[in-house]
Symmetry: C2
Subunit: 277 residues, 2 copies
């Protein structure tokens, strides 16, 4: 949402609706933008003399909210992409000698590499997939990348690559946007996986396959992480409890108590320390 | 493999290797082409005076071998695509009013629509995803398709489409091959899902997402069908038993004894009745 100064009318209308329906609590779950919205709603409520208790609830597969150990949604996507990378890796390994040598899996996370990084959980020892992970935070260098692909095929017989949808060139252009255009000037249809796969084909000629998991990864309840589901319910419950205790403009957080074995509890922080940080 | 007449030298070399290593049994698993190869190896063995017992073992996610109730591999892929379609469908349904209205999932099966059809298991009642399935066996009619997409969005608020990688126009061109070319004349990089999604965007302007499951669907052991796994082991075991009993040029089959509840047993047929039929 725009700032209160820029869009006062819209915020005033919101409070008007709250007043008409006697709404005293506002819970909003999501990532950075959503926490920012929750904070603004609490501010406008106070400034218009209609105090509404606003609680943000962390929920983003991108896992990029500060002050919380992790964000509900991420754990399950991490499990999905790790499992998928290992499974597809076994498939490619079994036939690399005579068929597909390169497999590219595109995962979500336009600005945060947490999901891409989670594919790394698939490998237990050196040489196991994924052999290369392309992060949105690390500028993509084609020459270095193509050399590494060749080295993997030489060393291991195949190469499995996980690429974030947000992988970008040093000048900031997304790989997915750097492709060709059709007769009408539309950008090419594909995601980043086919771009990377074709780059490899053009240089090395290896047979390849690619997959774009898209919504499948974030909707895959059948392989959800148990801890992730528990944390999702826990932050929702904590949000209601915080509101009933009168806390305003806060967000429940997941606090890590111990790494191995993983132990966690619930805390909370002011939304002002979270919103669009 | 080519016919024995066309490629006698290669077959003779094969038998030579068999003889040198005292190989008396040849088991070959796969789909139509593999059954054809197994049959040819048994024929050349006999004609060269080195009888080798050849048994084909059915295994193809395409599910297109005749004389068997189904092919090991298919049941698990069917489960994967049905589960994925339902999960992604719930995701789209939850946000269609303000965001993505169209979701396209590309599945395998270049010449057989069994996998595409299996996405239909996701829907329990009318209006539930998938709303449209594009089969390789049914020529694609763009106008009829685009009209149906619009109707779905009007009726249900969103539209989930499953498309076989082998979907083709009435003249036989694959949709995936019908796209644009880059500056070097290379065919576009994408699969069929982005082609279909872009077709919808151009006509209706709906926000869309698309996924290409590729190897993920056939490697997904974490969500394998129990019956499928049992059948895979059963045909392998039966193949060895058939060979030890002296059967040559045969393929074990899965025989359906009852539909509900599903009951099956193992039979067998001559490879000549299976090979490339």
């Amino acid at each position: 949402m725009k700032s209160i100064e820029q869009n006062r009318a819209e915020y005033e209308r919101l409070i008007e609706v709250f007043r008409a329906h006697d709404i005293g609590y506002f819970f909003y779950n999501g990532g950075n933008d959503s926490m920012d919205t929750a904070l603004k709603v609490s501010q406008i409520g106070q400034s218009l003399g209609y105090p509404v208790i606003c609680v943000g609830v962390p929920k983003t597969v991108d896992n990029d909210l500060p002050h919380t150990d992790c964000c509900p949604g991420f754990g399950s996507v991490a499990k999905y992409v790790a499992v998928s990378t290992r499974e597809a890796g076994l498939d490619v390994a079994s036939m690399a000698r005579t068929s597909t040598r390169v497999f590219v899996l595109e995962v979500m996370g336009r600005h945060a590499g947490w999901i891409a990084a989670a594919t790394g959980l698939a490998g237990r020892k050196p040489g196991e997939p994924p052999h290369i992970i392309l992060f949105p935070e690390i500028p993509f260098e084609p020459e270095r990348f193509l050399e590494r692909v060749k080295q993997c095929v030489t060393d291991y017989g195949y190469c499995v690559i996980a690429v974030s949808e947000g992988a970008a060139y040093p000048d900031g252009r997304f790989l997915a946007e750097a492709g060709t255009r059709d007769a009408f000037g539309h950008a090419q249809l594909g995601g980043v996986a086919p771009v990377v796969a074709d780059m490899i084909r053009q240089r090395h000629g290896y047979k390849y396959h690619w997959a774009v998991a898209d919504y499948l990864q974030r909707a895959a309840r059948h392989v959800a992480s148990k801890v992730d589901v528990e944390q999702a319910y826990a932050v929702g419950k904590a949000a209601v409890e915080l509101a009933l205790e009168g806390h305003n403009a806060v967000m429940p957080t997941i606090v890590r108590k111990r790494a191995k074995p993983y132990r966690w509890t619930i805390g909370h922080v002011p939304l002002a320390e979270v919103a669009n940080r």
